[in-house]
Symmetry: C2
């Protein structure tokens, strides 16, 4: 018996009816999807248009989620609510007024940076982390006013901590793991997780192999043990899943994620010249049908049914209800 | 005692707190405002951003109206609901997917043409009227699906009649008068008004001097007599007001309306080289405070209180309720 919605706080699949059917098969009631990495305003609008067509064509499986009542409606009608997010602020360009425009178009989550320096803050791959910029501070305030969730998954430490401190609403790291478990560039230090969670924010555990100890070979047990230790440190109510699932994507997509238009060379990001593509997922989490197995893995390491429900979506639901509410 | 909302179905003022205060003084519960004439997609988004700032700064006077429940809310809180419309389809460019994007941004009314040929239909100043184009027919269907009202105020006759016939929802001429009263290029033939109203559509009477018999010298009595005759011909329930009030605008704005970027010469439209600017309004309708006087004028020519309420907004309210409802 599942008493809370099941929510994945980050996916970027090659969207298809098959993927949406697998969301249903896996019992997901809501998924936060990425609709832009490096896109301009107009390019990201084209992505919204593509989603409008998906919502029309697959209205029996998905709906556009604008607040948690849409997640309720999805559960009641056996569908999955799709929440829009940007991994990078490029679609607001240099225009703070576009935040409200994007909010009207259904955006609910935005990362202030994606690996690199943005107009707003520093990314986790920059040598220098200068914290929030002048525009970054204005954007934090405007996102707080509108009910747009600030996501710092790909940001640098100081920038993240400043955002957590400056934001009047709790912020999130939708998809990353503790660096104490696996010291990847994209995983988060204790200081960062503490700053975010102590301010009421959330950490979503990533299932992207580069964020896992042992990579593709990481076992479900290893992963769930890590979740258990993280819960002991920061509290079970601050934790969720943000799988970072990039199902069915060609490797050209991970090239776009990493290199966008900002370099003429190839940036391998978390990969390498020897392994430039998407890494293979662990066998126990290859698509959305594996969500129930993840829940079972949490139960197996000692989480109660209520704690498992909380981590598998109840916490995101409670958090989104406040994060998306108008000021 | 006013039993229906007071609605003006077309204004393009130089928006200011003064104008919004005058809307309140005149008792207007809703105004359909033009947010684009010749603007590209991005330029029209900038206009939306400017409106967002107006809604924030003047939240005690105005609110963004997305459906008739917002008009109810405006009445209950002593404010005016602002409904967005385009006079030209330029902000959808060549992309039908932008219609839903604009609907999400709060657009509720769009003219298929503005004087000239558009990608969708022929304007009333073209020598040839070829009716709806291929894209025009697709756009009519998509506007029907979304609940975007088709406005043919500046369109040519055949195009208007085809739109009325092809649209599955009633359409509107938000701002024009019968050509039988004053044969201006922008006023509408009996055949056009009949096609629109017999299909359940609406005609909004214009108070723009070029649309008035006698121009600026037209009297309130003359205008209201014309309304009475029009009601006898087409039925009182198909009529409303669309004042076309362009208050406080410099003459450079009427130049933009007429010439946009489509000509290097000056197009004088309804004006002339001798009188290229905005014509002076009749003394009895210079700003929104004159709305009650207009209602009194309708009573003076014999309309009952209920009929006056209907023409002054009740009809638009009933019509908008259906026009804006999702399919």
């Amino acid at each position: 018996m599942i008493d809370a919605p099941r929510i994945d706080a980050l996916q970027y699949a090659n969207w298809s009816r098959k993927v949406f059917e697998q969301m249903r098969a896996g019992g997901l009631d809501a998924v936060h999807v990425t609709i832009a990495y490096h896109e301009s305003f107009r390019e990201a609008v084209l992505n919204v248009e593509a989603w409008h067509r998906l919502f029309e064509r697959h209205a029996d499986l998905i709906l556009h989620g604008r607040d948690v009542t849409d997640i309720d409606r999805a559960r009641e009608t056996g569908r999955t609510a799709i929440l829009f997010g940007f991994q990078n602020p490029s679609p607001i360009e240099d225009d703070i007024g576009l935040l409200q425009v994007w909010h009207d178009l259904g955006l609910r989550v935005m990362q202030l940076t994606y690996n690199n320096q943005s107009l707003l803050a520093s990314g986790c791959y920059e040598a220098e982390d200068t914290g929030l910029t002048r525009m970054g501070r204005e954007v934090v305030a405007e996102m707080n006013r509108l009910g747009l969730l600030i996501d710092m998954s790909h940001s640098a430490d100081r920038s993240t901590i400043e955002a957590a401190e400056r934001s009047t609403r709790p912020i999130a790291i939708t998809h990353a793991n503790p660096a104490t478990w696996h010291p990847a560039r994209r995983n988060k230090s204790d200081a960062v997780i503490r700053a975010v969670t102590q301010a009421g924010g959330m950490l979503g555990f990533s299932l992207y192999p580069h964020h896992l100890k042992g990579g593709t070979a990481c076992t479900l047990r290893d992963f769930c043990d890590m979740v258990a230790r993280t819960a002991e440190t920061y509290g079970v109510d601050r934790l969720g899943i943000g799988s970072d699932l990039c199902q069915d994507q060609p490797d050209s997509v991970v090239e776009w994620m990493r290199s966008g238009r900002w370099t003429k060379a190839v940036d391998y990001g978390e990969g390498s010249a020897d392994a430039p593509g998407f890494p293979p997922q662990p066998g126990w989490f290859t698509d959305n049908r594996d969500v129930p197995g993840l829940a079972a893995g949490l139960r197996a390491v000692g989480f109660s049914a209520a704690e498992t429900d909380a981590i598998m979506g109840g916490n995101w639901y409670r958090f989104f209800a406040e994060a998306f509410a108008p000021a």
